[in-house]
Amino acid sequence: MTDSKTFSPLDLDTPEKPYLDANELVINMGPQHPATHGVLRVILRLDGEKVLGLECVIGYLHRGVEKIAENRTYTMFNPYVDRMDYVAAVSNGLGYCEAVEKLLNVEAPPRAQYIRVILTELNRIASHQLWLGTHALDIGAITPLFYTFRDREEILKIFEKYCGARLTTHAFRIGGLQYETYNGFEQDVKNFISFFKPKIDEYEELLTTNRIWLERTKGVGVISGKDCIALGVTGPVLRASGVKWDIRKAQPYANYKNFEFEIPTGASGDTYDRYMVRMIEMRQSVRILEQAVAGIPEGPIMAKVPKVMKPPVGEVYHSIEAPKGELGYFIVSDGSTQPYRVRVRPPSFVNLQALDLMCRGQLVADVIAVIGTLDIVLGEVDR
C-alpha cells in the first residue's frame, strides 16, 4: 500500500490493532482478478484473513467520455453513453436523451415514452440478471450464471430485433425514437413476460433458501441507511438499507407515473437484503412491462426536433433510476451544436466508495461478496 493511513470516509473506528505482532498482509486484488468485475484494483490490508482496510484504485478503463462529449455534437455523442454502463446501455441512453430534451424543451411523444419504458425495464432485468449470475459465481455457485445468461439472451434477442444491436443498443434518439417497433414486438415482450416469471422462481429456488448462501450473505457488508445517504449510495443498495427511494417514484421521468409498482426495501442492509431487493425489483419490472405493453398508444414516435440541434444557453441536471442507482447528466450548453460540458454522475463510481466502509472487519471472502453486491460496472466507474 502506498500509504498505510487509508483515509476513512466516515468517522470510522481506527482499524483494530492485531493482537500478536503478526505481519500485516497487503494484497493487491486486481486489476486482473476473477472477482473484480473488470479492471478494478483493490489494495487490501489484511490481518490474516480479516480486512483492516482497503483502497480502490480505478481508472484503468478511463476513456474520457466527458471530454469526447465536448468534441461531438449532441446527436453524435448519443452512442457513446452506451459504452459507460455497457450492461445497461438503454438506461444510459434514456438519461442522456431526456436531459438533452429538457435543454431543448421538447418532450417525446407518448408512444415513444411507452416503448422507452419497455426497453428500459427489459434492460433493468438484463442488468440484474447479469449481476445475479456474476454475484453468485463470486460466492461460489456456478450454476445461476448459466441460468441467468440463458434468460438474458431472450431480452437481448428483443433488443436485436428492435435496433440491430444487442449490448450497446443506441436505442433512443433525442426527441423520441429512430425506429418504429417491428412486427410482433408486443407479442415478443408478452412472451418474454410469461417466460421469465417462472425463471425468477428458478433462481430463487437455487439461492434464496440455500443454507450456504444465507450464511455467506446474511450480515455481510452491512451498511446503514444513514451511511448510504452520507456516501451518496443509491439504487438497490440504498433501498436494501431501508430507504424507500426510487427516482421513478420520487421524481418521475419518462411516463413512470402512469405505472403501478412497488419499491422493495430491505431492513438490515446486508448482502442478502440487497439480493432480495434486486430479485423483487425484477418482478416489479415485469409488472411495469405488463402494464406498458398493454397500453402502448398509437401515434408518432419522434417529437419535432431540429436537424441541427442548438439548445439555448443554459444548463440542466437530469437523473434517472438506472439499474445501479442514480444516473445523472449535467449538461451545459453554450448555444452551439456541441455541448459545452457533459458531466455524468455515475452510480457505480459513487457506490464503489462505500466498499471500504462495508468491508472493514470482514473477511477476504466477504470483500468478494460485497464487490459483487455493489453491482459495479467498471466502464461506468472509469468512464
Binding site: 500509504d3 483515509f7 466516515l10 451518496g232 445523472g328 458531466r343 464503489l352
Partner: protein
Amino acid sequence: MVAKFKREYGSGIEPLTYVGQNYMVVDRSLIPEILQRLRDEEQFDYCVDLTAVHYPKREKQFDVVWVLYSFSRNERMRVKTQIADGESLSSSVSIWPTTNWLEREVFDMFGIKFDGHPDLKRILLPEGWKGYPLRKDYNILQQDSEWVQINLGIESGQ
C-alpha cells in the same frame, strides 16, 4: 429558503431557475457556510454530484457545481461558485463524505484544489500525469506522452 439566504447574505448569493431547476450562484467565500447550512438546516442531506466547468476566457475560470438533493423535501438544488485558476476551495468531505472521490475527480480533471481533503490525489488518471484533461485548453488528442513513454514503454506516445 432561497429568499431567506438571499436576505441574510445579500449580494453574495444569487438564486436562479432554468427549465424548472433551481440553482444558486454563491460567492466563493460563502461556500463552506452555505453548504453546511444547506445540509443542517435545509435537509439537503445527499450530495448527488460535484463537478466543474471550465471557461478559459473568463477571469474566474472555473464554475464548481454541487448538485444536492433533499430526501425530506424531495427537491434538488444546485450550488455554483466561480473560482480562478490556482485558487482552492475548502473541502466538503466533512459535510458529505461522498464528495471524497468527487473532489478527487474534479482535482484530477480540472486541477482545482480542495483544502482539507483527506487524500487529494488523482483518481482516474495515473499518479504523475501532467495536465488536466477536462480543461478547455487540453486537446482531445493530447496526452502526457512522456508519462506514456516511461511507464508503458511506447515510443511514439500513442
